[in-house]
């Protein structure tokens, strides 16, 4: 059946089975390819998006379960103040290498800072350990999150 879904402020209608993961709706039907496929079983975090502001793994979140929730993806996260600060911190700390996992890393980091503006190392570990990076950008991700947190607190 057709489902209506709100992504980055726009409404879309897609005709798929209700158990279709949002990941494929976003990537294959709406051509929002910034959200990545990594494992398919919520092990790696590459597919992280926000559903009503909370980080979820889109590879295991069905369109049916998303309901009328507002989906935010990497393509629009830069339009939020925290999203923009995270992206800037990512550039400043030279985080990216291959870049494939970074959409998911950034979405997780934005969710973290939204709920916890001044995370400790343990707080960062607790949230960010769900996101795998095979290029090994972890030390820089950690320092970029701290940089963005500092920028946030100054901005307030």
């Amino acid at each position: 059946m057709a489902y209506s879904i709100k992504v980055n402020g726009e409404s879309h209608s897609v005709d798929v089975d209700g158990d279709t993961p949002l990941l494929w709706v976003l990537r294959d039907m709406l051509e929002l390819t910034g959200t990545k496929f990594g494992c398919g079983v919520a092990q790696c975090g590459a597919c992280t998006i926000h559903l009503d502001g909370h980080a979820v793994r889109s590879c295991v979140t069905s369109i049916e379960s998303a309901g009328s929730g507002a989906v935010t993806t990497i393509e629009s996260i830069g339009s939020t103040p925290i999203g923009r600060r995270i992206q800037e911190a990512w550039l400043e700390k030279e985080v990216v290498q291959c870049g494939y996992c970074q959409s998911g890393q950034i979405m997780s980091a934005v969710a973290l800072l939204s709920e916890n503006p001044s995370p400790t190392d343990d707080d960062i570990d607790a949230v960010m350990s769900g996101n795998i990076c095979r290029c090994g950008t972890y030390p820089r991700i950690r320092s970029a999150i701290k940089r963005a947190a500092t920028a946030s607190s100054k901005g307030r």
């Binding site: 798929v16 089975d17 158990d19 279709t20 993961p21 990941l23 494929w24 709706v25 990537r27 294959d28 039907m29 051509e31 929002l32 390819t33 910034g34 959200t35 990545k36 496929f37 990594g38 494992c39 398919g40 079983v41 092990q43 790696c44 590459a46 993806t73 990497i74 393509e75 830069g78 992206q87 990512w90 550039l91 030279e94 985080v95 990216v96 290498q97 291959c98 870049g99 494939y100 996992c101 970074q102 959409s103 950034i106 960062i124 570990d125 607790a126 960010m128 350990s129 769900g130 996101n131 795998i132 990076c133 095979r134 290029c135 090994g136 950008t137 972890y138 030390p139 820089r140 991700i141």
Partner: protein
């Protein structure tokens, strides 16, 4: 492939530059280089630089960008001499065409072996310098002044005396008609504005906002999506498929049966995966149907005493062994490894009667093109490879088996199809780093220093199929024995190679750090064992054996100092050191570990000092060291592929874990300043990690580990 260090030293290369007109008007610059594959005639190198009338200057990058910073590094070389800023240029991936874009050392269009910067260090700077000289000459001619009274800065030719200025674009077309200077003096390092300076990676912005395009992001018009499953046993074949349920899944269009795989084509990947799960497939498990890792390891142990080829021989090891009794005799065992790049294998193909278009991220673009041509029967020029960013390479994408499979699927599909491997397929059908075994025999003299060094390497000859012309000589894979002789001053050294291949049907290939990663544990733990017998501190022992390797000794001293070597640690903590001379670079690594009461291992800190010659982008060098260390750490702690009944047991990140942020140690990297020719860094951080940790565990516990992955739960006193 770091064995290329020896190769490139023996090849005398010359760069010639030619020019041409852009289709839209403007200057094209083409360095031509003699390469080992084309020693007689200078191989044409294709356009590496396009200066259009308007807009950004295009730098064509022959190397694939897989995170290692090839776009940034190679563009920097050209921009330095061209006198443009990094934001005035755009990096463009080269098309698949080995006749124009073969790597100067490798003789084919290959990105691997940490040779991108090394291979293009001279030709790209010469190309930039030639273009700058011609652009200045064209402007000078326009103004009626002498070229030497003009200079270039940030893409503009300036005549200071008359304060006249012309942009490169404005004179590009005229410049293209001028003779190309050949003997251009390159900048002295003190004049570098970009090389060695901090700068933001040119590929970074697109990678933080979701616009970077990887192979999986190709979206040609009318695209369908295919989920695929390959026969789980190596070399097995398809017997039958019951597909009625799959065909009823909404969005499923077509079931494709290949001799060794089944694919479900659908409107989106979700439907394709659901359809695939609904199939009932019967496989013929084939000749490997009963195979297990134990069988493979036993076969390798048996091969240890087979007749060996001699890969390196200095002095007289036999006589020295007869004269000295004190010995280190140890066998080091390494597991099968998968690559698990973040982007699962995928390839998009539109196969038509008269042409074939491929969208993929590959380290071997032209091999992919030739393979697609072979399968379709089309001439290579009718096959287009659109090379994308790679979501990690690590050697996996040095093989083009994924392209072959996708073309076979696409030949049965009307329109373009994206073949997407699941993570499970990606792990179960990798181009594996195969088992490796090393036997090391070191004899110590009465002064307790090594008098003889014998290292027998047992493993596959990947280079026999991968780069036979350059790295397979007289039956010896020059890569797998690379760095097996160790960097130490030992008067008698012998490296022996026993070729032992994996089972037929199992693809085995290159893995980050290539041969050096196979040999570093035996070499660096072996020398540690010798130091222990000698009763000498491991750093001090190594120092005494590096009189002829000042660069290696310097990185050792730096790493030791920064890691507080010698400062007492709490009980259950230990430090271990490992050195590496490979890829034209030098590295020293000190690991600090804690082994808890319950024998839980924590890697707390890794300090790495490197000398990679002239540093092109310092941030990228630090990134690559961190990256190589963490990649090596994942393998050292967790990396192991198990085969049971002919199939790989591991399937995803739950049963083949990798290091996550909470397991990531403090990593500190330090660069020794150097004016030497650049060395490679993409793989430099990986080989030393495992031996440094194994040596640290010995320091902490007295347990000498000799197999990977590291398992401290079984105490074995040395």
């Amino acid at each position: 492939m770091s064995a290329l260090r020896r190769e490139d030293a023996s090849v005398s290369r010359r760069t010639f530059i030619t020019s041409g007109l852009c289709a839209a008007g403007g200057l094209l610059i083409t360095p031509h280089m003699a390469s080992p594959a084309h020693p007689a005639s200078a191989a044409p190198f294709g356009a590496f630089l396009r200066v259009p009338r308007n807009g950004k200057i295009e730098v064509v990058i022959a190397s694939a960008e897989m995170g290692q910073g090839a776009y940034m590094g190679l563009a920097t070389l050209l921009a330095e001499e061209l006198e443009v800023t990094m934001d005035q240029i755009v990096a463009v991936p080269a098309p698949a065409d080995a006749s124009h874009y073969a790597h100067p050392f490798l003789g084919d269009q290959i990105t691997g072996g940490s040779v991108s910067i090394r291979g293009y260090w001279e030709p790209l700077r010469k190309a930039g310098a030639a273009a700058r000289t011609m652009l200045i000459a064209a402007a000078a001619k326009e103004w009626g002044v002498v070229s030497t009274t003009c200079r270039a800065e940030a893409g503009i030719v300036i005549h200071d005396a008359s304060r006249r200025r012309l942009s490169y674009g404005a004179v590009a077309e005229k410049a293209a008609r001028l003779p190309v200077p050949q003997d251009i003096a390159l900048k002295a390092p003190r004049d570098f504005r970009l090389i060695g300076k901090h700068a933001r990676r040119i590929d970074a912005f697109a990678k933080v906002n979701g616009t970077a395009r990887f192979g999986l992001d190709a979206r040609p018009q009318g695209l369908k999506f295919a989920a695929i499953t390959i026969c789980p046993t190596f070399g097995g074949t398809l017997k039958s498929v019951e597909d009625s349920k799959a065909l009823k899944v909404k969005g499923v269009r077509q079931i494709i049966k290949l001799s060794d795989a089944v694919a479900v084509v659908a409107d989106h990947t979700g439907a394709a995966r659901k359809g695939l799960a609904a199939l009932t497939i019967v496989w013929d498990r084939g000749v490997n149907g009963a195979l297990s890792t134990d069988d493979l390891e036993q076969a390798m142990i048996a091969a240890m005493d087979a007749e060996a080829l001699v890969a390196h021989n200095t002095g007289d090891v036999g006589t020295a062994e007869a004269a000295h009794a004190t010995a280190v005799n140890a066998i080091y065992r390494m597991p099968i490894l998968a690559h698990t790049a973040m982007e699962p294998m995928n390839c998009t193909v539109h196969a038509r009667k008269d042409r074939c278009d491929v969208w993929v991220g590959t380290q071997v673009a032209d091999r992919a093109r030739r393979a697609a041509a072979g399968l379709t029967g089309l001439p290579a020029k009718r096959v287009t490879i659109n090379n994308h960013l790679l979501g990690g390479g690590f050697g996996r994408r040095l093989d083009h088996d994924g392209v072959v499979l996708a073309v076979r699927v696409a030949q049965q599909v009307d329109g373009p199809v994206q073949v997407v491997w699941s993570r499970e397929e990606d792990i179960r059908h990798d181009s594996y780093r195969y088992l490796n075994m090393s036997r090391i025999n070191i004899r110590l003299g009465s002064d307790m220093m090594p008098k003889s060094w014998r290292h027998r390497v047992v493993g596959p000859a990947i280079m026999a199929r991968f780069l036979p012309a350059i790295l397979f000589k007289n039956g010896i894979d020059l890569d797998i024995v690379d760095a097996a002789e160790g960097p130490y001053d030992v008067p008698n050294k012998r490296v022996e190679f026993v070729r032992h291949e994996g089972p037929v049907g199992m693809l085995t290939g290159n893995w980050r750090g290539v041969g050096a990663t196979r040999n570093a544990p035996a070499v660096e733990c072996g020398i540690d064992e010798a130091a222990h017998i000698a009763g000498v501190d491991p750093v001090e022992y190594r120092r005494r054996l590096l009189a002829n390797s000042p660069r290696l000794r310097a990185v050792l001293d730096l790493a030791a100092a920064r890691a507080d070597w010698g400062r007492t640690l709490d009980p259950r903590r230990g430090r271990g050191v490992a050195l590496l001379s490979a890829f034209g670079s030098f590295a020293a690594m000190v690991a600090q570990v804690h082994v808890g009461q319950s024998r839980k291992l924590t890697v707390e800190r890794i300090v790495c000092a490197v000398d990679c010659g002239v540093v092109v982008n310092p941030d990228v060098v630090h990134q690559q060291i961190e990256s190589g260390v963490i990649y090596g750490l994942s393998a050292a702690l967790f990396g192991k592929i198990t085969i049971r009944q002919g199939a790989v047991v591991e399937s995803n990140f739950d049963d083949q874990p990798v290091v996550r942020m909470d397991e990531c140690p403090l990593i500190e990297s330090f660069i020794v300043e150097s004016a030497e020719t650049p060395g490679g860094v993409g793989e430099l951080g990986t080989p030393g990690v495992a031996p440094a940790i194994m040596n640290a565990i010995f320091a902490a516990t007295g347990t000498r580990l000799r197999s990977l992955p590291i398992d401290v739960s079984q105490p074995r006193r040395s």
